[in-house]
């Protein structure tokens, strides 16, 4: 039908709009609010934990056995959701580190390096299967030890942990094809230091590629989240992984320092803060040690006017409130094109009102506990700075439990690039919202950070995605999604976010010497 013909028809719609006013009650503009209240509230739905067997004391895992630390010193591991002590953890000193390195060296020379790749692969497959079998138990432990929600430890962390072992198990007998025309040899003994935000997942990211490519490992978990790594060690025993191939030493910064400084370590892999990363670069300078660093970030999540806004809001939620914001690649700087700013803010305000904060073992909890008192203090300090510098804080009305470390999902508007909250990593459920006018400005602002780990782009226009992604200086860019991980996909940063890649074929490279 031609436009002219359409225009000639009677505009029935226009008439009906007037007559509708009587039949459909209208809420005045000032009262248009959605009420996320208690009309139908959820009863507690707690994940069972009665079968979980926590030890009162966790020892070091060296040479395939659990051994007491030479220092006889133990420190407490607490549940951040209850502030109750879960267990005591051995604190390894330089002598323990030396034992672990010797054990790893012996295993490397005598067993692991000479072993054919397909045999190494069998162990990794076996470990992956054992993790799957014990997934729920490990997820509960992860939640108790670190405060993350059972929903995430069950549905995100553990499936990815076993997926990483499965994936790299597949590479173990195919290394000669990984880098065509070149021969890949293992480096030797790898010291691996991991953070507290994804304890088992980070262990898997570090161990699986190192073991697949023929290295032996000494893993140092973060001080506040050591327990699950030691339960993983039990699975290594069940898998009959040869003694010394993986050693786990627990402790604080001094333990990590002793590991990094040990003369017989060939490779250091570290995930954690940029501050510590810089110390590591100094520590390994002038040695033969190879280094990969996966450090902090202050990712820009960019929402264009033509984005699918409701889904973009879900991407904001996934970007900053996933794992209480304890995510190095969190979308912590939201850049919104000015035309859609009011709509995005209104939707975000509504959405955070539906996030459930509380007991991480409750299957309906969206935001769990902040990992430690120290981290909570840091979040408070940065939020205070945001308020002092004149930004406006919006917080969810969630009621927080009395005991434990909690922070409600929050975001700041009125943030500029000069605010501390726009520059520094908060590592909590706090988002800084800024605006931009043109795509050029979005790119400029997104890149205006010392970090370069990740970024997000939201637009319905495919060509725009390709243009923007090509100009963002970030190791990972998500388009119309956020915080998606897969063992086949390399992960790592630019600039002060570190160097080296984990995951995918690229993830083998930091653990091999090519000739």
């Amino acid at each position: 039908m031609s436009a002219k013909k359409i225009a000639r028809r009677k505009p029935v719609l226009a008439r009906s709009e007037k007559s509708l006013n009587g039949t459909r009650p209208t809420v005045p503009a000032s009262e248009r609010r959605l009420d996320f209240g208690e009309r139908w509230s959820f009863a507690p739905a707690l994940e069972a934990k009665d079968y979980i067997q926590l030890q009162s004391r966790y020892q070091l895992f060296i040479g395939g056995k659990f051994v007491a630390p030479r220092s006889h010193v133990y420190f407490d591991s607490i549940n951040p959701a209850t502030e109750e002590k879960l267990a005591e953890i051995a604190s390894a000193d330089a002598r323990d580190v030396d034992r672990a390195v010797k054990s790893a060296r012996r295993a490397y020379e005598k067993i692991w390096r000479p072993m054919p790749g397909r045999e190494r692969g069998k162990y990794l497959y076996r470990i992956a299967r054992l993790i799957q079998e014990k997934a729920r138990e490990l997820a509960v432990l992860e939640t108790m030890d670190g405060g993350k929600t059972i929903k995430e430890s069950r549905d995100v962390d553990l499936p990815l942990v076993s997926a990483h072992f499965f994936y790299y198990a597949g590479w173990a007998d195919k290394l000669q094809y990984a880098f065509p025309g070149r021969t890949a040899e293992p480096l030797g003994v790898a010291g691996q230091i991991i953070p507290w935000n994804f304890p088992l997942l980070m262990a898997a990211w570090k161990l699986a590629p190192a073991l697949a490519s023929g290295n032996t490992c000494i893993l140092k978990p973060a001080e506040t989240t050591s327990i699950t790594a030691l339960h993983l060690a039990e699975l290594f025993q069940q898998a009959e992984l040869p003694e010394g191939v993986v050693n786990i030493i627990t402790g604080a910064g001094a333990t990590g320092k002793a590991l990094v400084e040990h003369r017989d370590v060939d490779k250091i892999a570290f995930t954690g803060s940029t501050q510590v990363g810089k110390l590591l670069i100094k520590a390994v300078a002038g040695t033969r040690k190879k280094l990969t660093l996966e450090l902090g970030g202050k990712a820009a999540n960019i929402i264009f006017e033509d984005a699918p806004i409701d889904q973009a809001v879900e991407g904001i939620i996934a970007g900053i409130y996933f794992n209480q914001g304890h995510v190095c690649c969190a979308g912590s700087r939201l850049l919104v094109q000015e035309g859609v700013f009011p709509a995005v803010i209104r939707k975000l305000r509504d959405r955070i009102a539906t996030l459930r904060v509380g007991d991480p073992l409750d299957k309906n909890t969206d935001i769990g506990a902040i990992n430690s008192r120290g981290q909570l203090d840091k979040i408070h300090e940065l939020v205070d700075s945001g308020l002092q510098q004149g930004a406006q804080l919006v917080q969810s009305p969630a009621r927080l439990p009395k005991k434990g470390y909690w922070y409600p999902p929050s975001f700041f508007t009125g943030v500029t690039a000069s605010h501390r909250i726009a520059q520094e990593e908060i590592f909590g459920p706090v988002l800084s919202v800024m605006t931009f006018r043109t795509p050029e400005e979005a790119i400029e602002r997104a890149n205006n950070t010392p970090y370069g780990l990740s970024a997000g782009v939201w637009t319905d226009k495919g060509s725009k995605i390709f243009k923007i992604v090509g100009e963002l200086r970030a190791g990972i860019v998500w388009a119309n999604t956020y915080n998606k991980f897969d063992p086949t996909s390399p992960f790592g940063g630019y600039k002060e976010s570190g160097f080296g890649r984990e995951g995918g074929r690229h993830g083998l490279l930091p653990y091999v010497a090519l000739s």
């Binding site: 039949t23 209240g37 139908w40 699918p308 409701d310 879900e314 299957k363």
Partner: protein
């Protein structure tokens, strides 16, 4: 919303074009799946299930429907379970226009409403004039609610303004009866189409928007319903009018019904947790919900034959 200066104004196609938000199918499906992960236990489960019963449009839309069958459905709707379980009546009984009088007679002043499908259900492929006659006749016979279908052919041919005009004309023909507009999302197929059809239906006068006739597969799905709830949310903020939502077809288990309720609660909030603004269109859902209610009260499952068929 555009208000036109005078009735003499001739709207052009461009002016009538509804600007609809884009929908990203990956994220909308991911979000919809997340609602089903909520764990609804004990007190929340039983109150949710009773709420679901109160929102149910108990439906029979068969060529072989008779007054006898309507009697079964009406009786079931008025009292789904023996009184000691304190289960509320269903919201409405949904029938073909020829059976509106019969349903009205059985339901009397029970409070259970009569909904009639109309406008050449399920295709809508009849001249508007006849469709309007059908609506008027059903309303005259006592239908409290009219469930119309849009002409999907017209929509897919890009004649969105004509679809809107037909809805507006149907609304007028309804008189006091409430209008539910069935989009038949299984035939619109894309989320962008669902969103656009939702927007134009609300603008043209729908009191409720409804996913499906139940005659086409897929009928209601979680992501499609979410897209429609999001359209309702935007329309509310824009105009202040609360539009109702009715997923219909394909919802067969109590667990599914609870997942839909979670979706409503977390998308539109408490104000929509009422039969005035949310309905389930279903024929077989009721007994699974009742079975779960009895299980929650008694502690064990009863066999299917312990629940009367509608």
């Amino acid at each position: 919303m555009k208000t036109l200066a005078s009735p003499a104004h001739r709207a052009t196609a461009e002016e009538r074009q509804v600007q609809s938000a884009a929908v990203d199918h990956v994220m909308v499906e991911e979000r919809a799946a997340a609602f089903a992960k909520r764990s609804i236990k004990t007190s929340a489960k039983i109150s949710g299930l009773k709420l679901a019963i109160s929102m149910m449009d108990l439906t029979t839309l068969e060529g072989k429907d008779t007054p006898g069958k309507i009697a079964f459905v009406c009786r079931k709707a008025m009292q789904p379970l023996e009184p000691r379980y304190e289960v509320p009546p269903c919201a409405a009984v949904c029938v073909y226009p020829n059976l509106v009088r019969v349903a009205k007679k059985f339901l009397g002043d029970s409070g259970v409403k009569v909904a009639s499908v109309a406008t050449a259900f399920p295709t809508g492929l009849m001249p508007l004039r006849l469709k309007l006659q059908e609506v008027k006749s059903a309303a005259h016979d006592g239908a409290d609610e009219i469930d119309m279908v849009i002409d999907r052919g017209m929509f897919l041919a890009g004649q969105h303004d004509r679809v809107a005009d037909e809805i507006a004309a149907t609304k007028k023909a309804c008189g006091a009866a409430h209008l539910k507009v069935i989009l038949e999302t299984g035939e619109l197929q894309t989320y962008d189409n669902v969103r656009r059809a939702s927007d134009l239906a609300m603008r043209a006068g729908a009191d409720f928007i409804k996913t499906s006739t139940g005659k086409i597969s897929p009928a209601a799905t979680m992501p499609v319903t979410l897209v429609m709830l999001e359209a309702i949310r935007d329309y509310f903020y824009e105009t202040g009018v609360r539009i109702g939502m009715k997923p219909a077809g394909g919802i067969r288990s109590a667990k599914q019904a609870l997942a839909y309720l979670v979706m409503v609660k977390e998308t539109l909030g408490d104000d929509w947790l009422t039969p005035d603004l949310f309905r389930f269109g279903a024929s077989t859902l009721v007994n699974d919900v009742l079975r779960q209610i009895v299980k929650t009260v008694e502690g064990n499952y009863q066999g299917e034959d312990y629940f009367s068929l509608p």
